[in-house]
């Protein structure tokens, strides 16, 4: 219809008409104009910052005045490779991120399953609100709330004392960090899992039942494989968010809870060694690249 309209003879004059004629003659112009702002944003803001990061990583600083010296070298990467401290920190970060991801997946799957396939419409809405509720409060407020629960004179130790158990004393440890991370990123796992579970056709489950599969067998052989891309998509969030975080370790972590993010933060904010921070920041980028590659193999991007 619009094609017909465009082909109709045009009255002479009138800027708007001449303008649309211009687009008619050059059909590639309209999508170009539409795409330029987001593309420019992507290339300049998104991509350029990554390139700058990579370039800075090969520079160095004057150790005394801490000014950046544009002297090309690989010292920063050598330090990462040679010093066991950074191996331990990178290993700890990946371990915590993996543990958090597994914990969230285990917690989220039954919850999302109930939400998507069992709960009534009303309960579903209520559960949705409950999942999203923590996101309404500030991240810091939620982490501080956990400090109040986990610290020495906190709610946890107090409750354990009440029922006659010895105090747990897990405040300011890696266990505290694992619990808090798992709590904070849980909604990011539940929602993609829920979306994937909801898309599993009822007919497939009926077919499985018709063919004599028991309930758990149906879940294992039909629902789980179909929902897996959703879980993997959620794991991208939980894994990458944990990988880059530095606030939770500062607040609930103890001595020996340093993650990659903390070292980057210390080097930018305290030591003023931006090149080394940049070198270290390429590590999560590389880890995520590998992770996304695996996720893509598992079909995570079809569920997004």
């Amino acid at each position: 219809m619009s094609v017909e309209a465009a082909r109709r003879p045009r009255p002479k004059g009138g800027g708007a008409v001449r303008f649309s004629g211009f687009f008619w003659r050059f059909p590639w112009l309209r999508p170009l104009l539409l795409l330029t702002p987001p593309l420019a944003w992507f290339v300049v803001v998104y991509f350029a910052s990554l390139v700058l990061l990579l370039v800075t990583a090969f520079w160095t600083t004057n150790p005394f005045t801490t000014q950046i010296v544009q002297f090309w070298n690989t010292d920063n990467f050598q330090r990462l490779i040679n010093e066991p401290t950074y191996h331990a920190i990178i290993g700890r970060t990946v371990l915590i991120a993996s543990l958090v991801t597994i914990t969230d997946a285990v917690l989220a799957f039954p919850f999302a399953y109930f939400m998507a396939r069992v709960a009534s419409r009303r309960i579903q809405t209520l559960l949705f609100a409950a999942v999203l509720l923590p996101l309404w409060a500030s991240y810091l407020a939620r982490v501080y709330a956990w400090i109040l629960i986990l610290n020495h004179s906190g709610v946890l130790n107090w409750s354990m004392h009440l029922v006659g158990l010895p105090p747990a004393n897990i405040g300011y440890t890696n266990i505290a960090m694992w619990i808090v991370f798992s709590y904070i990123w849980l909604p990011f796992m539940i929602i993609p899992t829920y979306a994937a579970l909801e898309r599993v056709p009822e007919s497939l489950i009926e077919a499985a039942t018709d063919l004599g599969a028991r309930r758990w067998q149906t879940v294992r052989d039909v629902v789980l494989p179909l929902a897996l891309p959703g879980v993997v998509a959620g794991s991208i969030f939980t894994f990458s968010l944990t990988l880059g975080d530095f606030i939770t370790p500062i607040l609930v972590g103890g001595a020996g809870s340093t993650l990659i993010g903390n070292v980057v933060y210390d080097n930018v904010g305290i030591a003023n060694n931006v090149p080394f921070a940049a070198a270290l920041a390429t590590v999560p980028v590389a880890i995520m690249a590998v992770y996304l590659l695996i996720a893509q193999r598992l079909g995570a991007f079809r569920a997004l």
């Binding site: 160095t60 600083t61 004057n62 150790p63 005394f64 005045t65 801490t66 000014q67 010296v69 002297f71 070298n73 690989t74 010292d75 990467f77 050598q78 330090r79 490779i81 010093e83 401290t85 331990a88 920190i89 400090i147 610290n151 020495h152 004179s153 906190g154 405040g171 300011y172 500062i250 972590g253 103890g254 001595a255 020996g256 340093t258 070292v263 210390d266 080097n267 904010g269 305290i270 030591a271 003023n272 060694n273 590998v290 590659l293």
Partner: protein
């Protein structure tokens, strides 16, 4: 496996391109601004003053009166760390900032980076009333040239819980003692290495540590080893004063290095704490108002420095922030608004007191004897990361 090949190639590249960093942090050359002559008198104010300051250093309760008196409108940018101050002051303040309230561990970096320039102390009337030490402290005065005017200072004290420690600890050894496992805390900052070095200078004289900020490789390694051992005793390092306060309130820490500010806050909240300066002495910080090399409003800057050096403002800031004025005349003012505060903050301390305090300064490669064997600050930072693990 394509990815593996690329990664292997990258590793090879990194290993092959070994390099020698041309910068050694040599400080023997005089500061780049040493020859800039400071003015002989203060001219008319420019109407504006842009400051980089610690939070609370430019409070309205005294900054407003300054604007009324001089017509200089004060704009303050608060910085959270010495290093943030150093980076904001890059390129002599960039023609934007006039002054910075830098601590001793940033001063030398600013001076040798050419970011600040000499100041004429004769234009500050209250300078003559300063504690002798703070007229020419080594962190802001080089070869008799003042790169700033001292402002306030404070010691890093040993804070302890009085129900756990009935008798005041007399040595810093308490924070390295394995019998205190799980109840020790420490400041999460590379400069904490100096605290351990100070302790070792007394407990292990064979190491020969004279200045906790000038450590040879051997002394530095011994200090790092002590701190690595200490990590096992620490539940959590503190980064913000409020962190340490809540640790003491919640029973997650009973002893550790602190600022007098934490003691005051905890006591006010009714916590059973006290602080002490142990027999080995203590480290401390001394802050200085420094003038940016490219300061656009130098007259307002001098007017401000003279104003914050007066006894009234010195006392007001000391009580507001919990630190000690450098102007000896401020003592009476402090006691007038908060009885006993002068003695509490050691504002009336005799000169010998300052010998027990080793003020923060930037560790550099050049040792006091001129040799190039001391460990510079960037290695302190990476060592600190390794200590924390």
């Amino acid at each position: 496996m394509k990815f593996g090949a690329v990664a292997a190639l990258a590793m090879l590249l990194v290993a092959a391109c070994g390099s020698t960093n041309p910068n050694t942090g040599n400080t023997l050359a005089p500061p780049p601004t040493a020859n800039l002559k400071p003015p002989d008198k203060i001219g008319a104010g420019e109407g504006q003053l842009n400051l980089i300051a610690w939070e609370g250093y430019v409070d309205d309760s005294w900054a407003k009166a300054f604007t009324q008196q001089t017509g200089c409108v004060v704009n303050a940018k608060y910085a959270g760390s010495s290093d943030e101050m150093t980076s904001l002051m890059k390129d002599g303040g960039g023609g934007q900032y006039d002054m910075v309230s830098a601590s001793g561990d940033a001063d030398l970096r600013l001076i040798y980076g050419g970011d600040v320039k000499p100041m004429n102390e004769k234009l500050i009337p209250d300078y003559t009333n300063f504690q002798t030490y703070f007229k020419t402290p080594p962190y802001n005065t080089i070869n008799g040239i003042h790169y700033g005017i001292s402002l306030q200072w404070g010691p890093n004290v040993l804070l302890y819980n009085t129900t756990k420690f009935k008798i005041a600890p007399t040595s810093w050894s308490a924070v390295y003692d394995s019998s205190n496992k799980g109840i020790v805390t420490a400041y999460d900052y590379a400069i904490t290495i100096a605290d351990a070095a100070l302790y070792l200078s007394k407990s292990q004289p064979s190491l020969g540590i004279k200045d906790p900020y000038e450590l040879t490789k051997k002394q530095f390694d011994a200090t790092v080893a002590l701190l690595t051992q200490q990590r096992q005793l620490i539940k959590k390092y503190w980064g913000l004063a409020s962190d340490e306060i809540s640790q003491f309130q919640n029973g997650d820490a009973y002893i550790g290095a602190a600022w007098p500010y934490q003691t005051i806050q905890l006591k006010a909240a009714g916590a059973p704490v006290a602080d002490t300066i142990p027999s080995e002495g203590a480290t401390g910080w001394g802050d200085t108002w420094m003038l940016a090399t490219k300061a656009p409003h130098p007259n307002c800057a001098y007017l401000w420095t003279a104003y914050v050096s007066t006894p009234q403002v010195q006392a007001a800031q000391a009580l507001f922030f919990g630190e000690t004025p450098v102007n000896t005349k401020a003592c009476a003012q402090m006691d007038a608004s908060s009885p006993g505060s002068c003695a509490q903050y050691h504002a009336d301390a005799p000169g010998s007191y300052f010998d027990t305090i080793k003020f923060w300064k930037t560790p550099v490669t050049t040792c006091a004897d001129g040799s190039q064997s001391c460990i510079p600050y960037d290695q302190w930072v990476s060592a600190w990361t390794a200590i924390k693990g």
